[in-house]
């Protein structure tokens, strides 16, 4: 098992004719991911390296049995694209697009939650990979290794760093998930923690957070009451000055809220092993497993 995606996931790529969409669709297919369709309004009937293109997600699902959408649509059209996939009953929508206005994110999150059963991962995320099974996103699969550690992160490159540290020590991963660095992410740490707790193949969890918001504090509360598997955590931004958006739209310390220190303390209180530096993640996992 793995969570959310496995070898049976059937993926439709929204925006497959764009530079990024095409590149990652083909790269993920080479890895073994079932990329069954792409969409681009007005280009239905065409193909990208024998992947059929449809005008709508609905048609792609009807024709190919796709159940996961991977979205590379530019920010101005991303809200409509994600909602289209949700209303077409895609089980999981992975939105890679960076730079979507917060208002569009807040609207689409609530519309999906109120009206559909779809799960949304992202936006502004690297997607997810179940090593050896399926890669739905932009993570470099070369650094992954199949195994039993679940990885969740708000940052793309830090996820890679963490996975790299694990793989270097021969510790494999069940699923690696980037929930994204924006203010209104679809799936939260808690949603993913819950899935990892229920997954038989996952026996330890690495959670990488960063400054801004209170998602890590909420996750700490959840871990305390619900997670029996060992958790290792790292929080980026200990030295970030207040009031500045550190690259990610969501990474900002407001007043005394959202600091790395508060997050680390909350996690430690939940018996999470918190490391001070991402290069220590591998060793820490070895210690708790």
């Amino acid at each position: 098992m793995a969570i959310l995606i496995d070898e049976d996931s059937r993926v439709v790529v929204q925006g497959i004719t764009g530079r990024e969409g095409r590149f990652h669709a083909l790269r993920n297919r080479d890895y073994g991911t079932k990329i069954v369709a792409g969409t681009r309004p007005g280009k239905g009937g065409e193909e990208v390296e024998s992947i059929p293109i449809f005008n709508t997600v609905k048609e792609a699902i009807d024709e190919t049995g796709a159940n996961v959408a991977l979205t590379f649509v530019p920010p101005a059209f991303a809200r409509e694209a994600v909602l289209e996939a949700a209303y077409a009953d895609c089980q999981l929508i992975v939105c890679i697009t960076e730079g979507i206005p917060a208002k569009d994110e807040a609207e689409m999150y609530n519309l999906i939650k109120n009206n559909t059963k779809s799960k949304l991962l992202g936006p502004n995320c690297p997607g997810l990979i179940s090593p050896g099974k399926s890669n739905v996103g932009i993570m470099p699969h070369e650094i992954t290794l199949p195994g039993g550690v679940g990885v969740i992160s708000r940052s793309g490159t830090l996820t890679y760093q963490a996975v790299h540290e694990l793989t270097q020590l021969d510790i494999g991963q069940s699923t690696c998930i980037g929930i994204g660095g924006d203010p209104v992410p679809g799936m939260s740490f808690i949603d993913v923690l819950k899935d990892f707790q229920e997954d038989d193949e996952t026996n330890a969890i690495v959670m990488i957070g960063e400054i801004g918001g209170t998602a890590e504090e909420e996750a700490a509360e959840y871990i305390k009451d619900n997670i029996t598997k060992p958790v290792v955590s790292y929080i980026a931004g200990v030295t970030a000055p207040p009031g500045k958006k550190m690259g990610h739209a969501g990474a900002i310390v407001s007043g005394n809220k959202g600091t790395a220190k508060a997050k680390m303390e909350a996690l430690e209180e939940a018996n999470v092993l918190v490391v001070s530096n991402p290069t220590k993640i591998g060793k820490a996992v070895k210690e708790v497993m």
Binding site: A102, A106, N110, T157, A236, G255, P278
Partner: protein
């Protein structure tokens, strides 16, 4: 992006939100032009920092002489490290009641949050801490919007003067429209006042979501009026994500999380970062040259740490950029480089084939941080 008060008020004008008549002064000569304001007027320093009143940045002038005197005093004044480059001259209001109102996004609820209080004109965080019951907090589902009934109930629950209920409801509704249609991260009015000339927004604290720039023609001009350090300006022109910090180790990395983490690791080895610079995903050789160019404009940098974990970004292209940008140049500082991930082997080969005594290759992130901090002393 946080706006000056006068910029927030120009957005008030756009959304028909009542606010005092005012006149913006960029230089003292502007006061020689005729302007149509009734005395007394308030002279307000335009700075992006709180506490300007206590610092002497807000004065009441009863006539043109006093106005000139205060304008001279406040223009150019330093308030907590911010130089006052503009003042807003505004008709003083006869204040009967002062309230507080704000709209923001509550990230944990994933909904908009309206906060309303009868205790306006003071520090709202203190109100929230000491008398939380005096602050009405209402979540608004972004997919549904704000109902008039909800606004009226909030006015009732907050014990605002009910004689002004219709006017209050109207201005609150318009402020919400500004928050949503204007793509604001924050709209805060403190005080929202009942005055001799009706209900008005006397102050403005507005922050814009720059991701929405593509659908707002005025964001570009607003952005231009906000001062940023020269290095940040150059970075913006080059499309780099750069923030000036106080230390001396220049940082270049790919991905916001990794760069943030790089600052932390540098601190762990006793150093302090001069900046945050994210070259983003898929960076090319030109991007890396541009990043080095930005650091060159910053005199506080005394060593540089380039930290790359290739995903979409290819390490060979980054290495190519470093070689091109530094070839034949007398480098001001030592550069420590750490490359991992996509095409790292190829990237390291490029660096070794083009040796430069000022460039050091580190095996790990920790080693690189240590070397960069050492090279800094």
């Amino acid at each position: 992006m946080d706006l000056f008060e006068y910029q927030g008020k120009s957005l008030y004008a756009k959304y028909d939100i009542a606010h005092p008549n005012s006149f913006l002064v960029n230089k003292i000569e502007d006061l020689e032009q005729s302007f149509d304001l009734n005395y007394p007027v308030v002279v307000k320093a335009q700075v992006l920092v709180g506490g300007r009143g206590k610092a002497g940045g807000i004065k009441l002038a009863n006539n043109i002489e006093e106005l000139n005197m205060y304008a001279n005093k406040i223009l150019g004044m330093d308030i907590k490290g911010h130089t006052v480059e503009r003042i807003l001259v505004e008709e003083a209001s006869e204040i009967k009641e002062e309230y507080y109102l704000s709209f923001t996004l509550d990230r944990s609820a994933k909904k908009y949050l309206m906060m309303l209080s009868a205790k306006g004109g003071m520090d709202i965080e203190a109100v929230a801490d000491e008398n939380p019951d005096d602050l009405t907090m209402i979540h608004i589902d972004p997919s549904k919007g704000l109902d008039e009934d909800v606004v009226i109930e909030a006015i009732l629950n907050s014990n605002l003067n009910q004689d002004y209920q219709p006017e209050l409801a109207e201005i609150i509704t318009r402020l919400f429209k500004l928050f949503v249609d204007g793509d604001c991260d924050l709209v805060e009015v403190n005080p929202l006042a009942v005055t001799g000339s009706g209900v008005m927004a006397l102050d403005s604290k507005v922050s814009l979501d720059m991701n929405a720039k593509y659908r707002h023609e005025d964001f570009d001009q607003i952005e231009k009026e906000i001062p940023i350090p020269p290095s940040e300006k150059l970075a913006k022109e080059k499309g780099l994500n750069f923030i000036k910090l106080d230390g001396s180790v220049g940082i270049i990395g790919n991905g916001a999380g990794l760069v943030m983490s790089t600052l932390d690791v540098v601190a762990e080895f006793g150093g302090s970062a001069a900046n945050f610079l994210d070259i983003g995903g898929g960076a090319k050789a030109e991007t890396v040259s541009a990043a080095l160019e930005v650091l060159e404009t910053d005199d506080s940098v005394s060593s540089v740490f380039i930290n790359i974990f290739g995903g979409i970004t290819r390490c060979d292209l980054v290495a190519q950029g470093i070689v091109e940008a530094t070839k034949g140049k007398d480098l001001k500082w030592q550069i420590v480089i750490r490359l991992d991930g996509t095409n790292a082997t190829e990237g390291l080969k490029i660096l070794r084939d083009n040796p430069n005594e000022k460039i050091i290759i580190a095996e790990t992130m920790n080693q690189a941080a240590e070397l960069a901090v050492k090279g800094n002393n």
